[in-house]
């Protein structure tokens, strides 16, 4: 065959060999669209039906949403989300920024800080959760260590108390996320013009004012990006809850995502679970609002 001697002709050769990359790509996107958006629409539809163990197609309007709002467990889950969101994000942002500043100022402990705060990024949330479960367990964790050292009155059993268990989650979540904030903020800080720092030193501006009034304000887009990433982390905290508390004691550390999963698979209440999922989707979508605002501002 003479054709085989011709130099490779790239994609134009493909149809004859029966391979159509474009078709493959289209197929791929179709599958994604179908599975992803299809499920989305399907869930939305189910949330309007009276489905229980198996899907039913009888539309009952917003009944499921009304029931959802009336469920104390759902309300606890939402409050927990807010607590985790507010304290978790504020805490991670503050700690991560502080660490980034320390690293940027060439603190000696760079290696230590990196391993304490960057490794959790590489670990599965389940492992993070387990680690904290051990640390906070009265028998195996910090309490027993400190008591062993002679501080016999030391008391740390957050996980056992329904009122404090959620704060154990907050602590774990701060530890898990501040590494991310640290590297993003560090990149931002390293990008600050060295001449600005010279001007700061020349004017005799104290360090904390320099950060508070000049450097950090100039990184507000970076900080906003951190907040968006952190919010996404909070919404996805399902794994952390499972590993750390399984939602307990009682339902005290439940989160909306866990609520939805439990009702889908454990309690066979597909209608209510779908309604919860739709509300969660609403939360996530609302995260996009600040993102879009920033984008618009960045372009203006």
């Amino acid at each position: 065959m003479t054709r085989s001697k011709a130099p490779a002709r790239g994609l134009s050769d493909m149809p004859e060999s029966g391979f159509r990359p474009d078709l493959v790509a289209i197929g791929f996107f179709l599958v994604v669209a179908l599975v992803f958006y299809g499920s989305l629409l399907w869930t939305g539809y189910l949330s309007l039906t009276n489905s229980r163990l198996i899907p039913s197609y009888e539309i009952v309007g917003f009944d499921q949403f009304a029931r959802l709002v009336a469920t104390p467990r759902w309300r606890t889950a939402c409050v927990n989300l807010v607590i985790l969101g507010a304290f978790g994000i504020a805490g991670s942002l503050a700690l991560g920024t502080l660490l980034a500043i320390l690293l940027d100022r060439d603190v000696r402990a760079e290696g230590l800080l990196r391993s304490i705060f960057l490794h959790p990024l590489a670990l599965s949330l389940v492992i993070t959760g387990l680690a904290w479960r051990w640390l906070l367990d009265p028998v195996t964790g910090i309490q027993s260590v400190l008591r062993g050292l002679g501080w016999s009155s030391f008391h740390l059993d957050w996980l056992a108390d329904p009122d404090t268990a959620i704060y154990a989650l907050v602590v774990a979540s701060i530890w898990r996320s501040s590494g991310l904030v640290m590297i993003i903020m560090l990149a931002g800080l390293r990008g600050v013009d060295t001449d600005i720092w010279k001007a700061i030193r020349l004017e005799g501006i104290p360090l904390w004012r320099a950060y508070a009034q000049i450097v950090l304000p100039s990184l507000k887009l970076t900080i906003a990006s951190c907040i968006i990433l952190l919010m996404a982390d909070v919404v996805r905290s399902y794994d952390l809850v499972i590993a750390l508390t399984k939602g307990g004691p009682g339902f005290s550390t439940d989160l909306p995502a866990k609520f939805a999963v439990d009702h889908f698979f454990g309690r066979a209440n597909i209608g209510l679970a779908s309604a919860a999922s739709v509300v969660i989707l609403g939360f996530v979508a609302s995260l996009l609002v600040p993102y879009l605002l920033i984008q618009r501002k960045g372009r203006a």
Partner: protein, 360 residues
């Protein structure tokens, strides 16, 4: 108006020496330009004067006081940076006043000083804008303003105009001259642009590889360069050079045997015959010899091409294997077309020791 003394300053980064013993005395009210090629250590020296960079050895005196280890904010000086270094989230007004606010200057005094500097630099309409809303030239004005608010006695500039386009640069040069004349501040100005150096400086310090090569008025630096480096670095088009040896009767002989009579040259010390030298002549000083010697060993130039510069043209020559240039009158018409004998006044020429590069 305060003076600055730079005494034997050395500085290395690791094993790499950057400044190798800099001595420079700047009198109150002077406008001294540090001129040198990129990487010669100008910014490093300026940062050392400002206290933003530690020095290895030597001392810095400001206003007669030893400031070698003083904090930058205590050195009575202000500085303008190449990237302007304005605080991005503050308005122009806040940029100008922030340093004073930090130092607890009374509000009324801050307002007064900001106003007067804003008026001086004609930036009053910009006071409520953010730096991002300003053009490059306006930012530069604000940066200068921030420096002047801080100190009108000693101002350091690190290539403040290098980010501006040519027209604006020319305008700002005039502006800076005016400011210096009005305020009488002592100014130290770093640049690698010789036009800036020539137009602004009361004295130019030419720096090469961490050493001061010459400190003189711009005219002196141009007319009587102290070293071969200075001769080459200053002047555009570049100085014409020709290598050769010095002969017994104060004659210069090039490699091809052409000789030049240097009896009119002001030797710094009695020349030693046989020294290998480099002869330098500014293009402005070269002309067509009016009374050609027509000796066999006279210089001979072959015209290569001309560049029109408007009122006059630059004629490029081939001379003894070297590329020379000279100015010719575009209108006068007397542009040589064939080989001719170029002439110049020996008193205008420069002669350097080839091995040391020092002016003879």
């Amino acid at each position: 108006m305060i003076g600055v003394g730079i005494r034997g300053v050395t500085k290395s980064y690791g094993a790499l020496p950057i400044l190798r013993g800099i001595d420079l005395t700047i009198d109150p009210g002077e406008f001294v330009v540090l001129l040198g090629p990129s990487g010669c250590g100008k910014s490093t020296l300026l940062n050392i004067v400002a206290g933003l960079e530690p020095l290895d050895d030597g001392a810095i005196e400001i206003a007669g006081e030893d400031m070698t280890h003083a904090d930058p904010s205590k050195r009575h000086l202000a500085m303008v940076f190449q990237s302007y270094a304005l605080f991005p989230t503050m308005s122009v007004r806040q940029n100008l006043g922030f340093g004073m606010r930090i130092n607890r200057v009374p509000k009324a005094e801050i307002v007064r000083r900001v106003q007067s500097v804003a008026a001086l630099l004609q930036i009053e309409p910009l006071l409520d804008r953010k730096p991002a809303q300003l053009s490059g030239g306006q930012r530069q004005r604000v940066a200068i303003g921030r420096a002047l608010v801080r100190s009108t006695r000693l101002c350091l500039f690190d290539e403040p105009l290098s980010n501006l386009d040519a027209q604006l640069r020319a305008d700002m040069r005039v502006e800076l001259r005016r400011l210096h004349a009005d305020l009488g501040s002592t100014m130290i100005y770093v640049t690698h642009d010789q036009v800036e150096a020539m137009t602004l400086a009361s004295r130019v310090a030419v720096i090469n590889r961490g050493k001061v090569e010459q400190v003189d008025t711009p005219q002196k630096v141009y007319d009587r360069p102290a070293t071969l480096f200075v001769a080459r670095f200053v002047g555009s088009p570049a100085i014409n050079l020709l290598e050769g040896v010095l002969m017994a009767d104060r004659r210069f002989r090039s490699a091809t045997g052409a000789t030049v009579d240097l009896s009119g040259y002001a030797f710094a010390s009695t020349p030693r015959p046989g020294t290998e030298v480099v002869l330098g002549v500014r293009p402005d000083d070269v002309r067509v010899a009016e009374a050609p010697a027509r000796r066999g060993d006279a210089l001979s130039a072959v015209p290569a091409f001309t560049e029109s510069l408007g009122p006059r043209s630059l004629l490029w020559l081939e001379l003894d294997g070297q590329r020379w240039s000279m100015y010719v009158d575009a209108k006068g018409g007397a542009i040589p077309t064939g080989p001719f004998e170029p002439g110049f006044d020996a008193a205008d020429a420069s002669l350097f020791d080839k091995t040391t590069g020092v002016r003879l």
